[in-house]
Amino acid sequence: MAIYGVTVPKWGLSMEEGKIVHWHVGAGAAVRPGDPLVDIETSKITNTLEAAQAGVIRRILADLEDVRACGALIAVLDDAGASENEIDSFIERAPQEAALARAETAAAASEPQFVELDRIRLRYLSMGEGKTPVVLLHGFGGDLNNWLFNQPVLAADRRVISIDLPGHGGSGKSVGGGTVDEIAGIMAEAITSLGLTRLHLVGHSLGGAVALALAATRLHDNIASLALIAPVGLGQQVNRNFVTGFIEARKRRELQKVLELLFANPALVTPDMADDVLRFKRLDGAEDALRKIAEANFSEDGLAVLLSLSRDLHSPATVIWGLADKVVPAPPDDEIRATYERLPGVGHMPHMEAAAVVNRLLASHFAGNE
């Protein structure tokens, strides 16, 4: 018998508080693990918090539009009919426990680190320990923060490392010719340098192409499983308007419009999100790197080269795609020779738009291939 607190999670390195924008449940509702409880909005994005336990919602402690710090108690659920007094005591103890939780989160919260290779320095974020480790590779124009809804969850029972690709995030901006092959070479060196000999590899979009290249060649024998989320390199055209718009957009509003192509629900693109991307593009060498990578890989010839890599696929692979993807359209069922999960109503960022679903798919894929 236990009383559980539902607290504001910490999604990503910079989140300090969140705003309640929608309750899926009310007091009295019975919930099971995985049921959506509440939508929380941050300056960057909005996500749904799910129930972690089975039980009945006993109190809702935050109203719509309320802003609460990470770790703050926003609801109470219990699984054995505790009395109202017991619920009250639980709530009274909450501020001390929230402070404790915050301290624990702060201690556990990783800071990004750097791995120095001969030709470049890469930024990465490592969390967790346990079973076979996971490496997450983001997509074109993104960075390790793209995995904010996935990395902490997957790190519950294993080490999960997200790495900024060359030219991106906090990694060095010189990308040589910018081909996926060159990038894969650098990532292989990084992965070796981090001491990983057996790993699950997850790649999104351009990161998916890099993952494919690594699985087909350099890390062929090290990869326990491969998961590709809306990858480039399986034959689909990449939306040129998106790529050109992303590189050329100068103003935040202009960029916001381009970023909306990434999501099935354009409202997920906040001014802060667009501002972050704009600030990345201003870094010395960033735009040049993006241009080189786009030119090297997203042309007809570039895509043909990438497609040839996927033919050599040996690792157990799962492919996840949003059916509403406007950037790299989801191929039909018969074109994918691997487990293929197609998500209706989801755009090019399933790991953000449908984080809980993707986390479950990844976790079970890892478990089946330790």
């Binding site: 390195l13 910079s14 906090g170 901006k173 935040r252 001014p271 600030r279 201003r282 870094l283 010395d284």
Partner: protein
């Protein structure tokens, strides 16, 4: 993302660009701390500590302390720029520009034009602007309009630490003379500032708050005041767009006109005195090219046409307050709508 102060961001910009380009030199009074005298080297790092640490890394050949003679060292910097160096010269207080204005507006600003393009003048003049320090009439002015008025000069007024680093690196890489105006009350304000070098193009405004009901254009230290008022009015359902032009020369006219085209109402908040200031310049721009989009007269919220007082109470009244900004916003919202034709 690391948080740094406006002061640190400026120091970092100088250090990183000096590492990248050996032609960049820093010149000014006490930028190191009394070179040639018996004082301690790097005692100050400039009057408010911005250049501290640089002489240790780059040496006395590139961090040059000067005597108190603006006409002399601004002229020296202009000449150095025209002959191959990329000097960043500190005017300390913009109020001292009277001592060296000829070197700035007749020499540096006009070299390229008068020498038929044979010479570039990649000079950056850094100066402190603004009131709030009880520094009185001769150490608290904005005067930024005087520089924007001169063809051949570029003028930047960063409102936060992130913009300060990006605009200063841009200024140092620009081949034209740039007047870089740092508000003295902003040095300890913090923001997320990337460790890597980056640039922010001139002539690109920052839309700090999105809004539909009224456009507020604000500069330098007034940006945060306008944002605070906007955030407070949002609770009443009034949607205020805050535009920070970042540079007044070049000025992002397009962003200002676009914003007023959607809101129909314009309030300009600037700490300078109103006659012939950039607030007045922007008002004329919109009155001329955005006339048919306006639903109310333009309001300027500026300092009064007086010197900056020494008395704290009077100085506080001099600087545009949140109350005055709010009153101006309410006034343009209350103005009768233009009759449909």
């Amino acid at each position: 993302m690391p948080r740094k102060s406006y002061r640190q961001a400026i120091g970092e910009a100088l250090r990183q660009e000096m590492q990248r380009d050996p032609r960049v030199v820093v010149i000014g009074e006490d930028v190191a701390g009394g070179q040639g005298g018996t004082g301690v080297v790097d005692a100050y790092g400039g009057v408010l500590g911005v250049t501290k640490g640089l002489i240790g890394e780059f040496g006395a050949e590139r961090i040059i302390d000067t005597p108190i003679t603006e006409a002399g060292f601004i002229g020296m910097a202009a000449g150095a720029a025209a002959t191959g160096l990329r000097p960043v010269v500190e005017l300390m207080f913009v109020d001292f520009m009277g001592c060296c204005f000829d070197q700035i507006f007749n020499q540096a600003a006009k070299f390229r034009y008068m020498f038929g393009g044979k010479v570039n003048t990649p000079l950056v003049v850094r100066a402190m602007v603004g009131a709030g320090f009880r520094a009185a009439a001769q150490h608290s002015q904005m005067l930024d309009g005087l520089f924007a008025h001169i063809p051949g000069l570029k003028v930047a007024l960063p409102s936060n630490a992130y913009d300060a680093k990006g605009l200063l690196i841009q200024a140092m890489r620009d081949d034209d003379p740039v007047i870089f105006l740092e508000h003295k009350t902003l040095y300890d304000t913090m923001a997320e500032v990337p460790d890597e070098p980056y640039t922010i193009p001139f002539g690109e405004a920052d839309i700090v708050r999105d809004g539909d009901d009224v456009t507020v254009v604000a500069l330098s230290a007034m940006v945060q005041r306008a944002v605070a008022v906007a955030d407070s009015l949002k609770k009443e359902g009034i949607s205020v767009e805050v535009v920070d032009p970042r540079t007044t020369s070049p000025l992002d006219e397009e962003s200002i006109l676009e914003s007023v085209a959607r809101s129909g109402r314009l309030v300009i908040v600037h700490e300078d005195t109103p006659r012939c200031s950039i607030a007045t310049d922007i008002a004329a721009l919109v009155a001329e090219r955005g006339f048919h989009t306006l639903r109310a007269p333009i309001h300027r919220v500026t300092a009064p046409h007086t010197p900056v007082p020494f008395s704290p109470a009077l100085e506080d009244a001099y600087i545009p307050s949140a109350k005055r900004i709010e009153a101006a916003i309410r006034a343009v919202l209350a103005a009768p709508a233009r009759l449909a034709s």
